[in-house]
Amino acid sequence: MNLEYLQYFHFFQYIALFSAIYFYRGLKIFMAGAMVPLLLLVVLIETLSAIIKTLGFLNNHYLYNIMMFTSTPLYFYLFYYFLNIKEKFRKIYIYISVIISVALLCNFLFFEGVLKFNTLSIIFVSFCTTLLSILLLFRLAVSENYFNLSKHPYFWIAAGLLIFSLGTLVVLGMNQFIRINNLNIVNKVLYRTIMPVLNVILYSSYSYAFYLCARMKKSYSPL
């Protein structure tokens, strides 16, 4: 089977997954062990989506919708540890995370639906990840510990996510508008140019962060 829909950025996703598995011990020390199931989910959905497209099924949106509401709780879980939230804010953070995850599921099941791309969800998720990434970067910048920011794994995870989320916020947020107005060429251009670049940025940042996790595990300096 010739997977014509498998693009170059997919390989960056595979590299990120393999490095997460390879450097798993380092990831665990940096509370980033949940990156493995998250990347496994991403790789599975993206590969399935490429197979489905190659087989001639045009609509693979339901797969991305599933990925959206399953990966979001994992992101919240990861940031819960990355941000090292103080005790009094922990409950608030957990409540907000549960409410958002349930809202995404409801949107998938009852509002925008299973087959239609969940634009509202992607806008909301991108906004949340942007906010969490900025928060993490801010925490790293004001941390009392002495470390080089560009050598800290959290910096690369947050930086990659920030750039990716800002890009997705615009590109995928416009998805519904483009479809309604039959701007198919626009869709193709955006998905063939911007999204792959954003994916490469995200997954290469992840891979480098995982490598740093393994390298820094002996001199661990959390927030």
Binding site: A141, L149, S150, F155, L166, V170
Partner: protein, 254 residues
């Protein structure tokens, strides 16, 4: 077609601007972190330098005081005792020669002990004799008491500057005092070794040893802190190895 191009252009421009802003934000954050780290590093260095200067000054004052006391013992008390001894010799009390001889011996011992104490306190004496000779002299004094068997082994052919020598000598003095007071030892060995550009002075006793955890207590901590602070000034590291009933080794590495 034109609408398509406009939408593509707008979206691409917006994405590029946002990504550019994000990258600028990350660069600014990294710069800020570098500047802050540099500042923190400089502050730490200033603090360390200040502490070291303070310690050096304290030790300098201490050395001056010790030299003063040493001079007083030698020039004043020593002289008075010598005069008392001369006076004793001029007495001619029949039938009490034994008592006079006994008192004379006591005075002679007091003068010798005081001279020894005076020399060990005097910084100039350490400078004049050199580090190794001064340590050997102290060990000889210990040996003379008849309570200790001592040895000095210099495997490194050790030589040291006067300033460092005085600090090392004071550390050894403090450790030896602790051995006398607490160790219940019968043998003391001072061994100087050299390995991989590092010199190590080991002060070993065969005493009753102690639980290292006890060093953390306030009282026993002060002595160790004094020694550690002295070692810090010459950039030396101090480690104590001990076990109950198994002797103690104090190791100074620099």
């Amino acid at each position: 077609m034109r609408a398509n191009e406009e939408v593509i252009f707008t979206i691409i421009v917006v994405v590029i601007i946002l990504v550019f802003l994000a990258i600028m934000f990350l660069v600014a954050l990294t710069r800020h972190n570098q500047r802050r780290n540099k500042l923190m590093f400089e502050n730490q260095k200033i603090k360390k330098d200040f502490e070291q200067t303070l310690l050096s000054t304290q030790l300098e004052i201490q050395e001056q005081t010790l030299t003063h006391i040493s001079r007083e013992i030698h020039d004043n008390i020593g002289q008075v005792l010598s005069l008392a001894r001369l006076q004793l010799h001029s007495l001619s009390t029949n039938g009490q020669e034994n008592d006079i001889e006994y008192t004379d011996n006591l005075l002679e011992k007091a003068i010798t002990d005081l001279r020894g104490l005076s020399h060990s306190l005097n910084t100039n004496s350490i400078k004049d004799n050199g580090f190794s000779a001064s340590v050997i002299k102290v060990l000889e004094q210990f040996e003379k008491t008849g309570k200790f068997k001592t040895s000095f082994i210099d495997e490194a052919n050790f030589s040291v500057s006067d300033d460092h020598g005085i600090i090392l000598f004071r550390i050894i003095q403090e450790v030896l005092n602790n051995i006398v007071k607490h160790a219940d030892a019968s043998e003391i060995i001072i061994r100087i070794e050299k390995a991989n550009d590092h010199t190590t002075i080991n002060i070993i006793d065969n005493g009753k040893g102690f639980d290292i955890e006890n060093l953390k207590s306030a009282e026993s901590g002060i002595g160790i802190r004094n020694i550690t602070e002295r070692a810090m000034i010459i950039g030396a590291k101090l480690s104590v190895i001990s076990q109950q009933n198994n002797g103690t080794t104090v190791r100074i590495t620099f």
